[in-house]
């Protein structure tokens, strides 16, 4: 073998071991960035800065000499000392790289300046050298690709997950005037409003969890087991609420049932004080009121939006039940109904529990619907938003509430992992069994058909009203058709109206998607295949990624990245990163589920053929994973386009995205424009979904979404 204790820098390297040329490239890159890119952050970004600003930010005058030393030393070592043993070389790289990184961070914290591109690139280069160094010491058995991947992932998790969350904790302990106030937490907790808000959130979450589970079960049973044509409708239409920004459902409910709503008008017309069915002189049995606002509205909107997810989870589970079990039940004199009750449902009990918990978390994290429909009913996500966005600017309160929401979410997530993960009755045995799926009991099928038809009609009407609303002059008052709203959005040039935000949404999502998927698959790969020191960091980081609600990320990122050393708020980068983090569970779950079906022996065979990890991943795993990657990217894109709860905190006038733009128009009362934009967004996502499904085959996107 090539590896031995004596190592010549220019000798042929073993597979997986980094060639000296690679190291040299990293050193040169770091070095070049050090001298020629802005060391300090530019006030107005790279493209809007003046020449003087650029030169000033290079920081040559203020460059502390100490920082150049490690870089120089690292540069010369392998070439000045070619007979250095491998391990020693590794230690040299590791120590100097970590020293360099540490010094850079300390320096920025000391001076209070914000890091610029140069600093970021140098840190990255040093981190790469660090990874190569520890690989040479023996981490991951000398495989510097995996070592690099691990270092990269840990770095990302530390900077973009742990650091912001720690900032929240930090904020909770420091009061508004900057003094240390640990009891502030309790004071806020026990103040009147907060317990009510927490109670509201919990009640809503539990109700929505129960409702979505029940309805999702009905849909799932129907889609898999019914014998009517309607089941195809279910299988196609369920995707609608998923590609819709969640609060758009809420908006459509207002269009129908709000004070100026269409249904309301009809009811007033029939039963109101001047209704045609009302006797003269009486008050009528119906009043125009805002009954849709508050708990009712949010409950309805969330149930309509979240049931499809529960449906997918449960229909996936139902499809994997071994048909022989139900057939055995039938041969033992049990009717279809008894079979359903005694065999089928108990078998999917873990799925039902899972769906319930998922519904709870999603409801608690939902921001758009409570904002639009909440009325007097305050929940945690909206309270957090108003603590910062309103006149209060109480970061202490926002952080405290954010922590409560985070703990809630984490608790439910942990329960899900513990409880549900363990008891799984539905295992794929791999035995080929002949067997048909047992159809539903007759009366149950009839009942479900009625229910589902009503549901689908309601959803159809809701979506129709969204599309219609874009063309109506003044909903509730003047129903004449007009294209004024759309004209305002789209026909005043690309720099005004809806175009900037739409371009931003598309652009950011487009950039975030591949990044998310790659990171997600990488994390999935490392977590499922590799053991190493530091794995706990990634594991816990992954849990946080899954469990953290959007509003909490929003607050955390404001706290973390609004101030040096890493100052990113107001830039496109922070939005892209936010979107990436929000969509990362998609990539991770997809990657993990796909990898669990690929036997490790494939990679082992490749490694035995002398291919390093990088080549193995590229030539063996990637092609097999390609369908997963494609569908993962598609779904990440969709999620990024429709996310709102995190970006609402971070979007600015210059970096506005579609969802925040719509919300701002809603807040200023321009319902028509907001709805028009919403309909365009939905239409865009529909086209995108169909395009992807056409290109990759129907089952891909479905399968991807089903693993959520």
């Amino acid at each position: 073998m090539f590896t031995s204790n004596t190592h010549h820098a220019l000798v042929k390297t073993a597979p997986g071991e980094t060639r000296p040329l690679t190291i040299l490239i990293w050193i040169i890159a770091g070095f070049g960035a050090y001298w020629f890119l802005p060391w300090f952050a530019l006030e107005y970004g790279l493209f809007d800065a003046t020449i003087e600003e650029y030169l000033a930010s290079l920081g040559w005058k203020t460059r502390p000499l100490t920082l150049t030393v490690p870089v120089f030393l690292a540069l010369f070592i392998p070439f000045a000392w070619p007979w250095l043993p491998l391990k020693r070389l590794g230690w040299v790289y590791t120590l100097f790289a970590s020293a360099g990184i540490g010094l850079i961070f300390l320096d920025f914290i000391r001076t209070g300046e914000a890091m610029g591109f140069s600093a970021a690139v140098v840190v990255m280069a040093l981190a790469a050298i660090f990874a190569i160094g520890i690989a040479k010491i023996g981490f991951q058995r000398g495989d510097s690709f995996i070592s690099g991947a691990v270092v990269f992932v840990i770095f990302m998790v530390l900077v973009f997950i742990f650091y912001p969350v720690i900032k929240i904790f930090n904020q909770v302990l420091i009061s508004r005037d900057g003094s240390f106030a640990p009891f502030q937490f309790f004071r806020i907790l026990t103040s009147f409003g907060v317990s009510r808000v927490v109670f509201n959130t919990l009640v809503l979450a539990i109700s929505v969890g129960a409702a979505t589970t029940l309805f999702g079960l009905i849909f799932a049973l129907y889609a898999v087991r019914a014998t009517t044509r309607l089941r195809y409708a279910v299988r196609i239409l369920y995707i609608l609420p998923i590609i819709t920004p969640p609060f758009v459902v809420g908006m459509s409910l207002i269009l129908l049932f709000g004070r100026a709503g269409m249904v309301n008008d009809v009811l007033m017309f029939l039963f109101g004080p001047t209704g045609i069915f009302t006797a003269a002189g009486s008050e009528g049995i119906f009043e125009r009121s805002g009954y849709i606002y508050g708990f009712t509205g949010i409950f309805l909107a969330q149930t309509l939006s979240l049931t499809p997810i529960s449906y997918m989870l449960l229909s996936g589970m139902i499809s994997t039940i071994n048909p022989s079990m139900e057939e055995a039940s039938l041969t033992m004199r049990a009717s279809r109904w008894l079979t359903l009750r005694n065999v089928t449902l108990p078998l999917i009990r873990p799925g039902i529990a899972n769906a319930f918990l998922l519904g709870m978390i999603s409801s608690a994290a939902d921001f758009g619907n409570p904002l639009v429909l909440g009325g007097e009913y305050d929940v945690l996500s909206t309270e957090i938003y108003f603590s910062i966005a309103g006149a209060q600017l109480d970061f202490g309160k926002a952080s405290t509430l954010g922590l409560i929401l985070l703990f809630l979410s984490l608790a439910v997530f942990m329960i899900q992992k513990r409880w549900v993960g363990q008891t799984s009755y539905v295992t794929v045995t791999g035995i080929q069994t002949a067997g048909n799926v047992t159809p539903l009991p007759k009366r149950m099928q009839q009942l479900f058909t009625v229910f589902i038809s009503v549901w689908l009609v309601l959803v159809g009407v809701l979506y129709f009203s969204i599309f219609l609303g874009g063309f109506v002059k003044q909903w509730g008052a003047d129903y004449s058709l007009t294209i004024a709203h759309h004209r305002e959005l789209w026909m005043h040039g690309f720099a005004s109206g809806g175009w900037p935000s739409l371009k931003n949404s598309l652009g950011y999502s487009f950039i975030a998607a591949p990044f998310t998927t790659m990171m997600g698959v990488l994390i999935a790969y490392i977590v499922t295949r590799k053991q190493f020191w530091g794995r706990g960091v990634i594991d816990f980081g992954t849990v946080l990624i899954f469990a953290i609600p959007g509003t909490v990320i929003g607050v955390a990122y404001i706290l973390a990245f609004n101030t040096p050393p890493v100052e990113l708020t107001g830039t496109a980068i922070i939005l892209i990163i936010t979107m990436a983090i929000r969509a990362m569970p998609v990539g991770i779950r997809g990657g993990m589920s796909a990898l669990s079906q690929i036997s490790p022996s494939l990679e082992e065979a490749s490694l035995l053929q002398r291919a390093g990890s990088a080549k193995t991943i590229r030539s063996v795993l990637m092609p097999i994973l390609r369908p997963t990657i494609v569908s993962s990217m598609a779904y990440s894109f969709i999620r990024s386009m429709t996310t709102v709860s995190a970006v609402i905190f971070l979007a600015t006038a210059g970096t506005n995205v579609a969802t925040t733009y719509i919300l701002s128009r809603v807040e200023s009362g321009d319902t028509g424009v907001a709805v028009a934009y919403g309909s365009v967004l939905i239409f865009t996502m529909l086209c995108f979904t169909f395009l992807v499904q056409a290109l990759t085959g129907r089952s891909r996107v479905e399968k991807q979404v089903k693993t959520q």
């Binding site: 041969t331 033992m332 005694n342 065999v343």
Partner: protein
Amino acid sequence: MEKADSIKIRLKNVSKHFGAVKALDQITIEFAPGTMTTLLGPSGCGKTTLLRLISGLETVTSGEIWFGGENVAELSATRRDVGMVFQSYALFPHMTVERNVGYGLRVLKTDPSEVSERVGQALKMVNLDGYQKRHPDELSGGQQQRVAVARAMVLKPKVLLFDEPLSNIDSKLRRSMRDDIRMLQKSSGITSVYVTHDQAEALAVSDEVIVINEGKIEQQGPPKSLYHLPQTAFVANFIGESNVIDATLEKDGNSKWVVLGDTRVQLPKGKKVPAQEGPIKISLRPEMVHIKSESKSSMAIEGIISQSAYMGPVMEYSIDTKVGSLFTRAPAYQEQYQPDDKVYLHIHPEELIVIPDAG
């Protein structure tokens, strides 16, 4: 278990079509009361479909199914009074053994005390008395299958159906389980239908064997007659192993001769042959060919060993001859031949199998 009143199963012109595919076409069979009949055939031949039609889990496209004097073709599985043992056992994982076996009794609203008594009896029958409180995942594969058998029988069904029950059992365990199933079936007297693709299993377990190929019945009869008197080349090849050889039939007055390459073999008087002379197919079972290093009779085929394998109790040989490559077995304690040895294959005329259907 007391003997039930065995019923006769009759299938009349049963067909099953899946769209354009004819899985089964005009099948007419009778299953004698109290017998165990095996449906044997390669994968995809339709045997499992046939079993499922009898069970009621599939409905016939056309035809009648009679359990005794009742046409059950229109009845669903729930109403047909059949017991079925599945390939994957299909035990309910969320129920104990007792609840699994007692499931049907509970559905029929049987008295709880009677339920536990009958469950106990059924488990005793399969030697699992005492396992009532266990869960299926705590049992081995063999034990699970026995519970499945107990569960199928506890309701004293009219018909017992077995869908490849031993496919997932370790081969060592298979023989004892096979014998147990046979014993249970015999003592209970329930008319049973058994599906398998393993022909050795079929021969061991059945009163009658039905060989099915591509949705049609090739041959039906007791195991012995299928083995010794296959009616078609398919049956000859499928049951046991055979060397199927092209030969010529010659008639010389009252005597019949079969010409295999250079060898002429006189057939015994009783042997059934086609009426005309000409090409026929002969089947030689490997164990019916006796290898000797010298020719000891005129009815010996000359050959050269191409491969020899030591199997423990037997030696297996491939031998190149004028009539093709023949496969035979010989006890290992006799002389062991090596490749390139010249040998002579001796045949006894009574052991020759003449295949009537040359197709």
